[in-house]
């Protein structure tokens, strides 16, 4: 390394100080880079050299991390960055007009930074505000229910030099930490259930757990039938038993608050209203498996919750229910859906790019820094605290034969009452739609893009692990919506979020998206349907992690449940010429060179 020396030594003091704040520990790389991003508005080559020197890594290793996360930038960003959610739900709610208003006021298009370095305008996938769209992040401040007029107003205030918080909510500065959270974002709790969103008694589950042997806690969690709420539905008690049973000096409990699946926002509500319960569940898990360290992996989009969560942790420490052996730190993410996958999440906590890990070994035997690690969803931990208070039998009695207790559903899209619903497992889709005022739904995306798209003939199916398993996202589409536009958007989401580690997901999803575009342009033939299925099959079969294994689901489930949509857009190939082959554009170049029209293909010589 030749080129590091000498570059702005004075300037690098700030970087050295940031690195020192995290003990010059390479495992805290993400924290370091987030702070450098905030201080400098980008991660410059000189900054990367300085960080590399401080933590003892190569510059390319630092660049590998810095270039992975959407919220870190290798080019200078504006002092204020406006990130608009461009999910299909926001588009259907009028995103275009909002973008136009920001673009006009700030004089920049999405993807650009203003010449004076004041503003950047960007698109970002779902920020977890699907029940109050269109939504945006303005630095870390969240702005919801945007309209053209509101966007204009906010942009004008920002241009006048008003800070993002005040620009979005006048009076913001006077609000307390918790008030700010609730002022920015609505909870929209539409149905409180018995377990989570109804009344809960503070610390009761933990008190019960403190009186139990660790093994007995695991027995109780297993007996309750609780299964993970993050999507995969693994039996929580069994997961803990594996971690507890592995010989190790250290064990770690991680709460997965990455909530990146578009259409999911129930963890946001839990962290707002039941943060204490979630931390209580983590503390119980720590006792059960013998962990002293806890990490909450909070998605970067939920940065607005950070001060509030720190305050709740602080209050728990003051109360003596945290920090007596076991303590929790919050690891902020930086814009990467794949970091919700538990291996990628652990990589990210370790200061690496958010790439899934090779399995086996599984996190319960070798996870964070090689130690046995339990990763559970936010909601799962909250259930744990409640079932220890009320007893596993109480929990087990709710729900269905293989899905016990209640589940939080995040309902968004074309419905009258978008928001969070806590219901026992086993409800019919139709019943949830009725509660949400979505009786006229034509299509429902159950479980987000990685889940299943169903039509009216499937609305009697049940929301449980036996039938329609879901992490809780229910996205409603009316008959006005174009199914293929939705599928196309979801494929662009997966292309954007693939980590790129393995061939099928990195490359195959790009091809799948291109194939859907072909259908949308009316250029597809019957063979393209076979192509979609075969390509999807290869991606699912060979992908390295759950992202690639589920990314073709929008295509496959729409093909299965809305075959007519595809049939209407395919046309038989004429004369064996591929429908995609457009002779007019193919001969355009030749026309230019010959400076005349084609005698064969341009029939009309008069124009």
């Amino acid at each position: 390394m030749i080129e590091t020396a000498g570059v702005g030594a004075a300037q690098d003091l700030e970087i050295a100080e940031i690195c020192a704040r995290f003990g010059n520990d390479r495992h805290r790389m993400l924290d370091i880079l987030l702070d450098v991003q905030e201080a400098r508005r980008w991660i410059s080559p000189a900054s990367m050299d300085a960080i590399a020197a401080a933590v003892g890594l190569t510059r390319i290793a630092v660049e590998g991390v810095a270039s992975f996360y959407s919220f870190l930038s290798l080019a200078p960003k504006g002092r204020v960055t406006i990130r608009l959610c461009d999910d299909i739900v926001d588009r259907f709610a009028g995103l275009d007009a909002v973008v136009a208003a920001f673009a006009e006021e700030l004089g920049i298009a999405p993807g650009e930074t203003s010449a004076d370095g004041a503003f950047s305008l960007e698109y970002t996938p779902c920020i977890g505000m699907c029940d109050q769209v269109p939504a945006a992040m303005i630095n870390e401040v969240v702005a919801v229910r945007l309209t053209k007029a509101r966007a204009r107003e906010i942009a004008q205030r920002l241009k006048a030099g008003i800070a993002p918080g005040e620009a979005v909510l006048p009076g913001f500065a006077e609000l307390g930490v918790q008030e700010r959270v609730r002022a920015q974002v609505e909870n929209n709790i539409r149905q409180a259930g018995e377990v989570l969103l109804g009344p809960v008694m503070q610390d009761r589950g933990l008190q019960a757990a403190m009186a139990m042997e660790p093994g007995a806690i695991i027995d109780a969690v297993e007996a309750s039938g609780l299964r993970g709420c993050g999507g995969a539905g693994f039996t929580t008690g069994r997961k803990w038993r594996f971690a507890a049973g592995t010989q190790a000096d250290r064990r770690i409990v991680i709460c997965n608050a990455d909530e990146g699946e578009p259409g999911t926002f129930k963890d946001r509500v839990m962290l707002t209203e039941r943060a204490d319960l979630v931390f209580e569940g983590m503390t119980i898990a720590a006792r059960a498996v013998g962990a002293l360290e806890g990490i909450v992996y909070l998605r970067g989009e939920y940065r607005y919750l950070l001060d509030h969560l720190h305050a709740v942790l602080e209050e728990r420490r003051a109360r003596g229910v945290l920090g007596q052996g076991f303590d929790i730190r919050i690891q902020l993410g930086a814009g990467a859906y794949v970091c919700g996958e538990e291996g990628a999440l652990i990589s990210s906590c370790e200061g690496l790019p958010g790439e899934p890990k090779t399995r086996p070994p599984f996190p319960v035997t070798r996870g964070y820094l090689g130690f046995p690690t339990v990763v559970n969803n936010v909601e799962t931990f909250a259930h744990v605290a409640r079932l220890l208070d009320q007893g596993p039998g109480w929990f087990h009695a709710m729900g269905t034969e293989r899905s016990h207790g209640t589940k939080l559903f995040s309902v968004s899209g074309d419905c009258e009452r978008p928001g969070v619903y806590e219901l026992p497992y086993g409800q019919k889709v139709r019943d949830l739609l009725a509660l949400a005022g979505a009786e006229h739904a034509a299509a429902v995306q159950v479980g987000g893009p990685s889940g299943t798209m169903i039509g009216r003939d499937s609305f009697d199916r049940c929301l449980s692990f036996d039938d329609l398993a879901t992490g809780g996202a229910i996205i409603v589409f009316s008959s006005q919506r174009n199914i293929l536009e939705i599928v196309d958007y979801y494929m662009s989401f997966f292309v954007h979020e693939s980590c790129g580690y393995c061939t099928p997901c990195r490359v195959g999803n790009v091809f799948l998206k291109k194939a859907i575009e072909k259908f949308r342009k009316g250029q597809a033939s019957d063979e393209d349907i076979t192509y979609l299925k075969e390509l999807s099959g290869t991606i699912i079969e060979t992908s390295r992690c759950g992202l690639g294994m589920t990314s073709p689901n929008p295509v496959l489930s729409s093909l299965e449940n809305f075959p007519l949509v595809y049939a209407a857009l395919t046309r038989p190939s004429k004369d064996g010429v591929k429908a995609t082959f457009d002779i007019q554009s193919a001969i355009d170049g030749a026309r230019g060179i010959a400076k005349r029209r084609s005698y064969i293909f341009d029939k009309d010589f008069s124009k």
Partner: protein, 238 residues
Amino acid sequence: MTGESFVFHIDGVAVTAKPGQTIMEAADAAGIYIPRLCDVEGLRHQGGCRVCTVKADGRSVSACTQPAAPDLKVENDTPARNRVRRDLVEMLFHEGNHLCPICEKSGNCELQAMAYRLEMTVATRFPYLEPCRELDASHPDIALDTNRCISCGRCIRASQDVDGKGVFGYVGRGIHRRVAVNGADLAHTDAAVTDHAMSAAVCPVGCIIRKDEGFRVPIGSRHFDHGLIGHEIEEKRE
């Protein structure tokens, strides 16, 4: 590794493995070739190309990372497995720019050889992504053309683990992920042509090119002109 060796089956053939061995390691020792691109002897496993995907007791796994287990039934050389592998190899061809007739690696190239082995003969259905990445010819002895890169990461692991240098690394995410060097360009790294990472055995394709070797061995007398990729392993079989 300690412990008793055990037996499992690949396409009906009994294979002996030691605890800790991957399916691929055990297969290699038994003279059964499982196609691969990112895995190479002497370097840590990556499990990224997925060309080695096999079915083990009905589950798809990458043979280069999956531990062998007693009584496992592995499906390897079947039309279904090879069709999926062909898809993956085609994806790699279409992700980069591959013009074999003008490529220095032709005949020694593992991607090309894999296409032959998997009988990639009919026209592919995939679109071309046609990347346009700058050629790095800054180094006096080595040129780097990542337009042909298949992201196998072999150069990264070789430089880091064998040479102890870390000349290469991945940057970016998803389809934009690519191999980059530890400096402004290759000349501004501590890369040397004598590094293991720069040797012909490391980069499976024609990305890392040693400058004075061009076409020294004529096309027709090159490595894979003498046999299909994997034949050395298959010849070990009794």
